[in-house]
Symmetry: C2
Subunit: 207 residues, 2 copies
DNA sequence: ATGATAACGAGACGTACAGTATCGAAATCG
DNA sequence: CGATTTCGATACTGTACGTCTCGTTATCAT
């Protein structure tokens, strides 16, 4: 979405006439969006509020994003996701990645924005088109760790890694979002061990 | 004793003066809420729309619920939840319960309302107070099935059943809500088997 | 029966925000 | 320069919220 603007020429594009879009305003809008998401949450976020916080006119926002939704999606893309860690063992990788990810939930609007976008998507298929690639990218390091597990012989080849990833993050998602629980870091290890217990002895899944 | 005409008596409470609240209007409001939730989803649901559909004044709604949120929570409580099934084996119970529950997602506004309430709760602790007991009740049959599994010797005593339940519903929640996927009924069996693989061999978790 | 009380459907009202349109000023092009 | 496009600001229309007030209706106490 974000076009390059501000300085002078537009990359390889034909130089447009008129005043270029301010990259400064672009950043200020996204920053204000993240700040307000953390402060008031998704549903209480207003475009007018963002404009005021960013010191920007409403039209400047609507010139770049069609509505509040794609704006929040882009801001969401700036939030931290899984970060790949290679500790030498599958269990070690997963525990390290999940522990770090849980910390991000305390310091960013992730806990608010994530479920809000998910809920909105449930009745807005168009949002899925924009959101799904972002979510898929956030998941990728998790899949990479599982693939390393297969290479190391920790997981049987032919295992459904997509389902395995869902089994690992599932309990965390349920507790964090659906049950509104805090997840103590000491719970990560047993969670991963429990999920891995099923994954390790699953050659084919079907039956 | 006096027959209950129209509205009827107020249980054991002291009879209040004035016209009693119409139970008919109450039902009409909740029915209209469920209809509109299915049609337009949570975020597009308006109290004015509910009032219009129910043939009721707005004040009649606000007299009973302080806002759209508690109204939807009450309507949500009328939607189907897990229904306990005892097939004789743990795997059979879980597969039957999940299969039936997934069907409910196709015929009710569950898929829309569930994530919407969850998202709202993320930035509204008050909502959690009302919502959590409802969610806990909906989960109860799942826990009962797991307890039968312990009694049958299918699960080691001392296993964290709460975590086990999260492991079972986790992948379904992730796919249904976070990834917006449809879950084919044929996927339920491998999902349950995968999760049970970890639960069955988990005497204490910390391996 | 009669009056007090409270809920009823309807809708007017003020507030808040969405999204569009318009302003003069500023930035960049040819 | 002059054409063009963005800038921040703000006026505007439309929708929904949540409150309030109508005249009406149901129920209780007397």
């Amino acid at each position: 979405m974000g076009a390059e603007a501000g300085g002078g020429l537009r990359g390889g594009e034909a130089a447009a006439a008129g005043r270029p879009r301010s990259e400064e305003a672009h950043r200020a809008i996204l920053d204000a969006t993240l700040e307000l998401l953390l402060e008031v949450g998704f549903s209480a976020l207003t475009v007018e509020g963002v404009a005021g916080r960013a010191g920007v006119g409403k039209a400047t926002i609507y010139r770049r994003w069609t509505s509040k939704l794609p704006l929040v999606v882009e801001a969401f893309g700036l939030l931290p996701a899984f970060e790949d860690v290679d500790t030498g063992t599958l269990a070690g990788d997963l525990k390290a990645m999940l522990t770090r990810y849980l910390e991000d939930f305390l310091s960013t609007p992730l806990a608010t924005v994530y479920p809000s976008l998910v809920a909105e998507r449930a009745h807005n298929p168009e949002l899925g088109l924009v959101l799904d690639p972002v979510l898929k990218g956030r998941r990728r390091p998790l899949e990479a760790a599982l693939e390393r597990g297969v290479a190391r012989g920790e997981i049987a080849p032919g295992t459904d890694l997509d389902l395995a990833a869902d089994l690992i993050v599932g309990p965390i998602a349920v507790r964090l979002f659906f049950r509104g629980m805090k997840i103590h870091p000491s719970l990560v290890d047993p969670m991963v061990d429990l999920a891995l217990g099923g994954i390790r002895r699953a050659p084919r899944g079907t039956e």
